[in-house]
């Protein structure tokens, strides 16, 4: 067990990180991701409050759908990356990262009128993420209703007479379902998922899976001093929908030229790449690794790195790994596509 954003979480179960990683690429795993916050926003003013506060545009989706979005500070830094589950026309579950829930509650409450309620419901529920090509098949044994949720769909379902929410979302690059279950039913739900033949997986596998999928981790790849444009996530910014915190900073950054830029790197050997590693080109430092590891699927080192200029895919850069120069190729993201 390791401390993580105020929670105690398993790095791995007895199966080990590599076994859990492969189970997700080839079968189905379950992560306990209760550390993600849930902020329930309800009322006639809920939709407008989210539109005003976050970067993406809810007009692109509708009730019963999920959307990835950002909360920015005024300088354009990513305060948090968030998934919104649009549960019902006036009910949204806003899901920030472990440590950012208070920040998100504050942002949504500021400037809000009496026509919405913002409530941190994190401690009232557990969230289990069932991920992998066999996730839906296995989940039929637990709840056929949850198992049939569409990719990026959101629907309510009943488990053991408890009302739960399922979403076709995840953080592994695989198909999967995330279920929010009332705390009182969480133990029984977890057991039912394991009984259906799903492998429990910990933080170690969660990190190697999201890295292979090229998905950024807040606090590592995005955060203070990094905008969505730096991270190659311009698609979460809806320029035309009206103002939101950070918008003018992003406009200024686009005009001035966006630097540094996130790149994918891949080495020819098995040595894991670590965050903080310097990236060199022609003996000159051009950036640093924000996340890296060994890719269990590709069996080589992979990394997300911020580089001062756009380096074309196929070009070679070098990494200084404790005094040794290691060559790395610039590659497209994601490193691994869905099985």
């Amino acid at each position: 067990m390791v401390p993580f954003g105020g929670w105690e979480m398993p790095l791995s179960y007895p199966g080990g990180t590599l076994g859990e990683h492969r189970a997700c690429r080839g079968g189905a795993v379950v992560f306990d991701v209760s550390h993600l916050g849930t902020v329930r926003v309800t009322g006639p003013g809920a939709r407008d409050a989210l539109q005003r506060s976050l970067t993406n545009d809810l007009n692109k989706v509708k009730p019963g759908r999920a959307q990835y979005t950002h909360l920015l500070s005024d300088d354009g830094s990513v305060l948090d990356d968030i998934i919104i589950w649009w549960v019902a026309p006036e009910t949204f579950d806003v899901m920030p990262n472990a440590s950012n829930t208070d920040e998100v509650v504050k942002a949504l409450r500021s400037g809000a009128g009496a026509d919405l309620a913002v409530q941190d419901t994190t401690s009232a529920r557990a969230v289990l993420a069932i991920q992998g090509p066999l996730a839906r098949e296995k989940m039929k044994d637990v709840s056929p209703e949850a198992a049939s949720v569409a990719r990026f769909g959101v629907k309510e379902f009943t488990f053991d007479q408890y009302r739960c929410v399922a979403a076709g979302t995840g953080y592994t690059g695989e198909d999967g379902i995330e279920c929010a279950v009332p705390a009182a039913a969480a133990g029984a739900f977890w057991q039912a998922v394991l009984n259906a033949g799903v492998t429990p997986a910990g933080l170690g596998a969660r990190d190697t899976l999201r890295l292979e999928a090229g998905l950024p981790l807040h606090g590592q790849d995005i955060g203070e001093g990094v905008t969505p444009l730096n991270a190659g996530l311009g698609w979460v910014v809806a320029w035309e929908k009206g103002d939101f915190p950070g918008r003018s900073a992003l406009v200024a950054q686009s005009e001035a030229g966006v630097t540094p830029l996130l790149h994918g790197l891949r080495t020819g050997g098995r040595r894991p790449i670590r965050s903080g590693t310097e990236v060199m080109l022609d003996s000159r430092k051009i950036g640093y690794v924000s996340s890296g590891n060994f890719s269990p699927t590709l069996e080589c080192g992979i990394a997300l790195a911020y580089l001062s200029n756009r380096i074309p895919v196929g070009d070679t850069v070098s990494l200084s790994v404790r005094g040794t120069e290691v060559e790395a190729e610039v590659v497209d993201l994601p490193f691994v596509t869905k099985s």
Partner: protein, 126 residues
């Protein structure tokens, strides 16, 4: 935790098996368990002459990097090249298939300074 009685141990969590004039070195069950899933190992070259306690390689798992040290002074006469492609043998069979190097000790009496099973067990329980 598996700590075989017939082996000797270093404080850096290596095991040493004596076989005539040669020793075989690997990492202990305790070490592999603490490291987690091992994905990479760098081993010394054959003929490398090592001082006692000098770094002879590196092991990396999905969560961390760790150095391997020569338990006593000597010359490397064989390395386990299978580990290069199958470093997971360090996890699955640390005292067998996961052996790392065979060395010829500079002074066989140095072996007397190593820990026995009881002493090493005490170290892992500190």
């Amino acid at each position: 935790m598996n700590i075989p009685e017939e082996l000797r141990y270093s404080v850096e969590h290596e095991w040493i098996r004596t076989d005539g004039a040669r020793i075989t070195v690997g990492i202990t069950d305790y070490a592999q368990d603490a490291l987690g899933d091992i994905v990479f190992i760098q081993v010394p070259e054959v003929d490398a002459i090592l001082e006692a306690g000098s770094m002879m390689g590196e092991i990396e798992s999905t969560k961390s990097v760790s150095e391997i040290y020569a338990p006593i002074a000597g010359t490397v006469i064989e390395v386990n090249t299978h580990l290069e492609d199958s470093p997971e043998m360090l996890n699955s069979d640390p005292y067998g298939e996961g052996w790392i190097v065979v060395m010829e000790p500079a002074a066989p009496s140095d072996l007397d300074d190593l820990l026995d099973q009881t002493q090493y067990r005490a170290l892992t329980e500190e």
